[in-house]
């Protein structure tokens, strides 16, 4: 059974819009006829801390959290958080990461430095790694703020959910005035 379950982890920094992205993904999976579960921690993490959202879908899903070391796809909104969550991924898993660095407090205060060459280090461990300049592509779609949707488009190519359901999920979850830009951003990501 568990082989048929898709395990996706969405990670980044509080305030980056991770919860909305994981809601769109869950909605698309449900529309495609799958059982879906999702889990994340609210509260303290909203104050700029690390955020990890788990989404699982398949014929029948039990645990709402991805069992350690069984993640199929790590969807990183920020490089340091992507690196931090690699142990959740299965060997040979897929990493799609936004090319973005947000300094944690110790780095802001000059006590530590932001780790260097994170993308290269991830690439060494996971051959299926894609680094995406989300804001740049989103700007081409009309608004740099739609970077998450670009990445969602990239991730969507690696999942067995057809484009119709993704677009329906976007229609349901994204405010009307931002919908067209987000659809374009999603399709641009899907073409990468």
């Amino acid at each position: 059974m568990s082989e048929q379950i898709k395990n996706i982890l969405l990670v980044g920094v509080g305030g980056q819009g991770i919860l909305l992205a994981s809601e769109i993904l869950s909605e698309a999976a449900m529309l495609a006829g799958f059982d879906v579960k999702k889990s994340e921690i609210h509260g303290m993490s909203q104050r700029g801390g690390s955020v990890v959202s788990h989404v699982r879908y398949g014929l029948e899903v039990f645990s709402p959290i991805v069992p350690e070391g069984e993640g199929d796809i790590l969807f990183g909104f920020e490089l340091l958080e992507t690196m931090r969550s690699l142990p959740l991924l299965k060997p040979g898993g897929t990493v799609v990461a936004n090319d973005l660095q947000i300094s944690p407090p110790s780095v802001l205060m000059g006590q530590e430095t932001y780790p260097e060459e994170l993308a290269e280090r991830i690439k060494v461990q996971f051959a299926d790694f894609m680094l995406v300049d989300g804001p740049k592509i989103a700007a081409a779609a009309g608004n740099a703020k739609a970077a998450n949707t670009v990445l969602l488009g990239v991730v969507s190519k690696r999942l067995n959910i057809s484009e119709t359901y993704w677009l329906k999920a976007l229609e349901k979850m994204v405010p009307v005035k931002a919908l067209e830009i987000n659809k374009r951003a999603f399709l641009l990501g899907r073409e990468l």
């Binding site: 909605e27 899903v61 709402p64 069992p67 000059g110």
Partner: protein, 586 residues
Amino acid sequence: MKTILSGNEAIARGAYEAGCLVACGYPGTPSTEILENTIKYNEINSSWSPNEKVALEVAIGASFGGGRALCTMKHVGVNVAADPLFTLSYTGVRGGLVLVAADDPEMHSSQNEQDSRNYAKFAKVPMLEPSDSQECKEFTRLAFELSEQYDAPVMLRSSTRISHGKSIVELGERVADLPLPKLEKNPAKLVMLPGNARVRHPLVEQKLLDLSKAAVTMPLNRLELRDSSIGIITAGICYQYVREVLPNASTLKLGMVHPLPHDLIREFAAKVDKLYVIEELDPFIEDQVKAMGIKAIGKEIIPLCGELTPGRLRNSFGLPQPAVIPADNLPGRPPNMCPGCPHRGVFFALNQLKAYVTGDIGCYTLGFMPPLSAMDTCICMGASIGMATGVAKVVSNEEKKKVVAVIGDSTFLHTGMNGLMDMVYNNSPATVIILDNSITAMTGRQDNPASGFTLMDDPTNAVNIPLLCKALGAKHIRVINPLDLEETKRVIGEEMERPEPSVIITNKPCVLIKREDVFNKGPVYTVDADRCTGCRACLKIGCPAIEWRPAGDGSKKGKAAIDPLLCTGCDVCRQLCKFDAIGSVK
């Protein structure tokens, strides 16, 4: 219709479908979103109470008036509401009453990980425990029905993974045939004087026996026979981990965790070779199963502390773990106060004044973190003030001056004001700082009795905190602007010196308040690189908008910079710069 709901959204939906008329509670992670979702249903009167005890009393009143009532709180909130709860089990209900206790195993956002199931047993109240969002909805509905059928309040236990997890829910219709609420006197049942209570107590014990028997055939307790070599009794989120990790094991999934269906447990135990009890936190089910004389394995292999996960369960059973990439040693990313947070300057001053700070529960508990490092204790909601009084009772006169209690507006109104009453009454020399940011911020910006708005977003009467402190007898009350560092440090210093109780109230709003004209962003600030000497003074407030940029030559030299997207123009960093290097962008 099918939709994806969080456990909290599903509990709100279940209350709606059950014909619930009143929903009340106090915000607390992971329970907060239940009431933020009952407000979507016009049929339910939803409200925040100042604390959980009042919330439960409001729900009891609604129930005695004949309406169905939902009351929500986090696990530690039940401690505050415990007083009415223990007697409510004696009176029973009129309209159904459901009390949701949301536990937080692993303490993702809590000060302890107490197991609320013990309250059900202690207070002699039935308790249901759902294991996904569909069950959250169904069990909430069922809890209302059981409450009226057995004339008892019913507790619904959730946990972080249930409340904040999402899964697919099939929606139903709201019940329509409930009797209309109407006053009805019944003092023998509702006035708990000794004479009446002595009559009620045996009825409570009988109800629990009846329920334990009835629970044997209730569909919410489900016996699933698979491989009979291993049998597992479990409930709540743990059921999901059991099915994930031990898919072939037989399970007895308990939907009602108090009282337990003894005959069903015996039947299940007889059908399997080896019996396990798998539950998070306390051996609540396990102890009772063992007390029945049944041999079972539980906490011998299942951790007592923290939440269970599929990986931890695999560990307990010695099952192989998947190979994982080892974690690198990376800079951590702990939560932090927001850029422009009005609490920052106060903790900076307390640090400089070397105060002994008795802290409280809220965003400001982050004042503990470096570089502010200005919090010395944190126990529970409202504890700061009583503790300051207590510390000052035992230390030397010189040390008494160092004692400062720090508490937020919502926490002060929750249970802090009683502490102030005691401090003033008993003439303690300690100082109280009320960080009034006009909102309950930590749990996600909820209104409170001083914010001027209700949960339904209607303008309302507001507590005047300075006048309230005056009415409690405080003679020295000073209101300060916490974004003015000189004033903040000077006033706190003066009041610490004063050998009498004194109260300082800050008056700047939370930067996250979205209501118009409460918080207004100022002009964005910038660092003049020519003037910046790299002295690092501005880094001492730990503002996420200020970044140290190393010179890049391998030396310790560098300069500060301000992120214009994060800066709110609070002006605090400018006051720290001795070289006039920081100013607003013209």
